[in-house]
């Protein structure tokens, strides 16, 4: 059966359940589905965050994510892959990002989901700005995210 790759960059929220169901629906060749949901936290630092604003590079964001989704499809035996990344203003508790991977084998599904999340954290053209009581600030890139992404180039 065919493998389905879906990439969406959108402001609107998404339905994790529906995305998982869509990958598995009507198929009996999938043994494992892994989903990763990234959520907006309210307590990242001492100062509570009232919202995040995600800026992105329209066009490049979609193309870059699709390029990495295709890399994941080439690298692991996947039967389906969905990546959704939101932009705009997002409040604590809301979804930011979703990766769903489907495979016959659990290790492939786990690894591909981790690979895509590590990529999204470090190389997808999105930038987070935190809104707090005293104003706001751009989130700084984390070196441990770079280290996590680097392990896939070995």
């Amino acid at each position: 059966m065919t493998a389905i790759v879906t990439v969406r960059v959108q402001h609107e929220d998404f339905d994790t359940a529906a995305e998982i169901a869509a990958l598995g629906k009507g198929r009996t060749d999938i043994g494992a589905i892994v989903s990763f949901s990234g959520l907006c936290r309210g307590n990242d630092h001492e100062t509570p965050i009232s919202a995040l604003t995600l800026e992105h590079y329209p066009g490049m964001a979609e193309a870059e994510i699709m390029r990495h989704a295709e890399q994941a499809m080439a690298r692991w035996p996947l039967q389906g892959l969905t990546v959704i990344h939101r932009f705009g203003r997002i409040t604590p508790g809301e979804n930011i990002v979703l990766v769903v991977t489907a495979s016959s084998h659990r290790q492939a599904a786990f690894e591909a989901a981790e690979f895509l999340m590590d990529y999204l954290k470090t190389n997808a053209p999105f930038w987070k700005r935190e809104e707090t009581e005293d104003g706001g600030s751009w989130v700084e890139a984390k070196s441990h995210d770079d280290a996590a992404a680097a392990r896939w180039t070995k």
Binding site: Y57, M60, A124, P125, W127, R129
Partner: protein, 83 residues
């Protein structure tokens, strides 16, 4: 060529995009950053640490020594923090 700025690079320069015409001796990404730095206070502030700045040419990540000839759209932005 069209130039785009994102996140705090955009805020410091004070615009999201513009069309520029750098002189012919500006050949690489790092030479373009150096030239932009001299275009005013906002530019100087945005590019004060050029090593931090990431660049994409026609929506593909590139390195500081990449040639800019033929580029339709060049974007400058901070390290990415998506996901």
């Amino acid at each position: 060529m069209k130039v785009k700025y994102f996140a705090w690079v955009r805020e410091r320069i004070g615009k999201a995009e513009e069309t520029i015409e750098p002189p012919a001796d500006v050949r690489t990404v790092s030479e373009l950053i150096a030239w932009l730095t001299a275009q005013g206070e906002g530019y100087a502030y945005a590019f004060e640490k050029p090593k931090v700045i990431r660049t994409a040419i026609d929506q593909t990540h590139v390195q500081p020594d990449t040639a800019i000839s033929g580029a339709r759209e060049i974007a400058f932005f901070p390290p990415m923090t998506g996901g």
